[in-house]
Symmetry: C2
Subunit: 310 residues, 2 copies
C-alpha cells in the first residue's frame, strides 16, 4: 500500500491528513499555523509533523507518493506564492521549499480550488468531472473543476465567483472595492443584509422582526417555518445566486453545482430558490445540470490536496 | 518532416489545410459542404480530399500525424455530435467515422473553441496559455483556452459567452429565447440595434442620420470621423462587452482577450471602449490583462484544428 499527505493551510490551523492511495483517509490532525516572523515556521512545522507521523505509523519514505497542499492565496502549478493575506508570506517558493524540507514531491493549489477538487473526488460532486463549487460563508468563494482538474487561470485566480457583478445599480461597496458583487447578496453577511433591507421596506409581519439583526440561519429557519417575508428574502437571494450561476455556466459549462459553506447548512431548501432562478436564465445547453450539497465539510481541503498528488 | 491536416467544417464550405509539424501552413483549399441526405457525404468528401492531397503532394501515409477538425456544434473529446443546426447531422460519431474512412487519428472540437486555439497558437493570443477569444460577428461567439487547451465543458458548450446575461431589464428576446444576452448588444446586429435606439431617442445631429439603417461598420466609421452620437453608441457597446468580460474573467482568469469577427475590423479603436469599461468592473486579480485583435481571419479554424493533433 502507498500513501500520501493532504495539507490544508489556513490562517489559524494547518489541517493534515494521511491518505491511502485508494483515497481512504487513514488519519487526520491539526497543527497551529505560526504566522509570526513572516510565517517562516509554517513549512518546517508541516515537514516536522509529516516526519513524526511517518515514524509513529511506521510507514516508510518509499511508500509515500507525495504531499498535496492547499494555500489561501492565488498559486499556480509552479507552486510560487506572490503574497498572502493571512499567512505572513510574501514571495515564497512553497512547492520547492517543502520538497527540500521533506524530500517528497509536492503539488500545490489555491485552497478553494483544492476543496472543490475534494468535493468532486469524494463529496457532493462525485461522479462528475466538470463542476462548479460555490462556498457560501462569510464571503462567497468558488472552485471550478474542468475535466477533473482545477481551473487555475492565468494568475491563479480562477473561480473567484464571489466577485461576479450581479447588480450594476448597487451603490454599496463590496470588500473588494467594487459594487454589486455576488458576495454582497449570497454570502451569510449578504443574506443578513438582504433581510435588513427587506424588513426596513414596510411593516409586513414576520418572525424576523423579533431581532434587530438576523443571520442567514435565522432567515432560512423562518423560511422553513413558513414566514412570508423570509420567503421573499430567500427569493431575492436565490435570484442573485441562480442568475450568477447561469452566467458562470455559459462560460465553463459544468454538469453539477456543489453548494457548501455555512449557509449550505440550511439544506436542500436552498435549491428551491437557486435552481428555479437558474433555470429561468440558463442557456439551453446548460440546463442539464444537478444541484448538490457539499458533504465533506472541513475535510474537503485535505481530501482535495491529497487528490493533487494521486 | 511530418504533416497533419486541419479541417474547419462550415455550413457552406469545408476549409482544409495541410500543415507541417512545425506549424507552417503548406497548402489550403476548400470543398463544398454537401448537406443533403443528412449530410452523409461530408465526411467521405473530406476523406477523399485528403487522399487526393496526399497523392498530389507525394506525402506518404506514414508521415501524417493525424487530422484535427472543428465542427459547428457542441462536441466533446469522444468526437460525438448529438445534433447540428447547419450540417444535417443528427447523432454522429464524427471522430470514429473519419478515422475509419482515412486510417488516420482524428481529434475534434467545437469550431469556435478550435478557432480560439488557432489564435492562441499562431495569432492574436500568441505567447499566452490562458485566453478568451470573443468573435463579434452576426452573433457573439467565444472560445476559452486554459493552460493551452480548449475549455470544452460538460456538454461541449464551454465559452458560449454570447449568451451571458448583461442586462436583466431587457424585454427584447435574443435568438436563444432569453433576454439581455451579450449578443443583443455586442454583435454586428446588436450594434446596429443600439444605433437605431440611440438615434430614435432625440434629434442630436449625427452623420448616422443619413441612413435609415446603420451597420456596425457605419457606427465605427462615424466614431473615427469624430461623431458624438456614434461615440455614445460605442460607449454603450463597450460597457456591455467590457463588463461582460470582467464577469468572464472572475470565472476563468485569462491573461489575454482576443477580439475577432467582422466587428473587429474596426480595429484598435474598439479597445478604447472595451478596455475602459473592463477596467472599471474587473476584480483586482484580473486587471493584469491584454486586449488584442485576432490576426488569422478565416485561417484560425484550420490552424486550431491542426493544433488539436500536434
Amino acid at each position: 500500500m502507498k500513501y500520501c499527505f493532504g495539507v490544508d493551510v489556513g490562517g489559524t490551523t494547518v489541517k493534515m491528513g494521511l491518505f491511502q492511495e485508494d483515497g481512504m483517509l487513514k488519519e487526520k490532525w491539526e497543527i497551529v499555523t505560526r504566522k509570526e516572523n513572516g510565517g517562516e515556521n509554517i513549512l518546517p512545522d508541516i515537514a516536522e509533523s509529516i516526519k513524526e507521523k511517518l515514524e509513529e505509523t511506521g510507514i516508510s519514505k518509499e511508500a509515500v507518493i507525495g504531499i498535496g497542499m492547499g494555500i489561501p492565496a492565488p498559486i499556480k502549478e509552479d507552486g510560487i506564492v506572490k503574497n498572502t493575506a493571512n499567512l505572513g508570506w510574501g514571495y515564497k517558493e512553497v512547492k520547492k521549499e517543502l520538497e527540500e524540507l521533506t524530500g517528497f514531491t509536492v503539488a500545490t493549489g489555491n485552497d478553494a480550488n483544492v476543496a472543490a477538487l475534494g468535493e468532486m473526488w469524494q463529496g457532493g460532486g462525485k461522479g462528475h468531472k466538470n463542476m462548479v463549487m460555490v462556498t457560501l460563508g462569510t464571503g462567497v468563494g468558488g472552485g471550478i473543476i474542468m475535466e477533473g482538474k482545477c481551473l487555475v487561470g492565468g494568475h491563479g485566480a480562477g473561480g473567484e465567483i464571489g466577485h461576479l457583478c450581479v447588480n450594476y445599480e448597487e451603490t454599496d461597496c463590496c470588500g473588494c472595492g467594487k459594487q454589486g458583487c455576488l458576495e454582497q447578496y449570497a454570502s451569510a453577511t449578504g443574506i443578513a443584509r438582504l433581510a435588513k433591507q427587506r424588513l426596513a421596506k414596510d411593516d409586513k409581519p414576520s418572525i424576523l422582526r423579533k431581532k434587530a439583526d438576523n443571520t442567514a440561519k435565522d432567515v432560512f429557519d423562518a423560511v422553513k417555518a413558513g414566514d412570508e417575508v423570509a420567503d421573499e428574502i430567500a427569493v431575492e437571494f436565490g435570484n442573485y445566486l441562480g442568475h450568477a450561476l447561469a452566467n458562470i455556466a455559459v462560460v465553463c459549462d459544468p454538469t453539477v453545482f456543489v453548494i457548501g459553506g455555512g449557509v449550505s447548512k440550511a439544506g436542500e431548501i436552498l435549491f428551491k430558490y437557486i435552481e428555479k432562478a437558474y433555470m429561468e436564465k440558463a442557456f439551453f445547453a446548460n440546463k442539464d445540470i444537478q444541484f448538490r450539497l457539499a458533504t465533506l465539510g472541513n475535510d474537503a481541503g485535505i481530501c482535495g490536496a491529497a487528490k493533487l498528488v494521486l
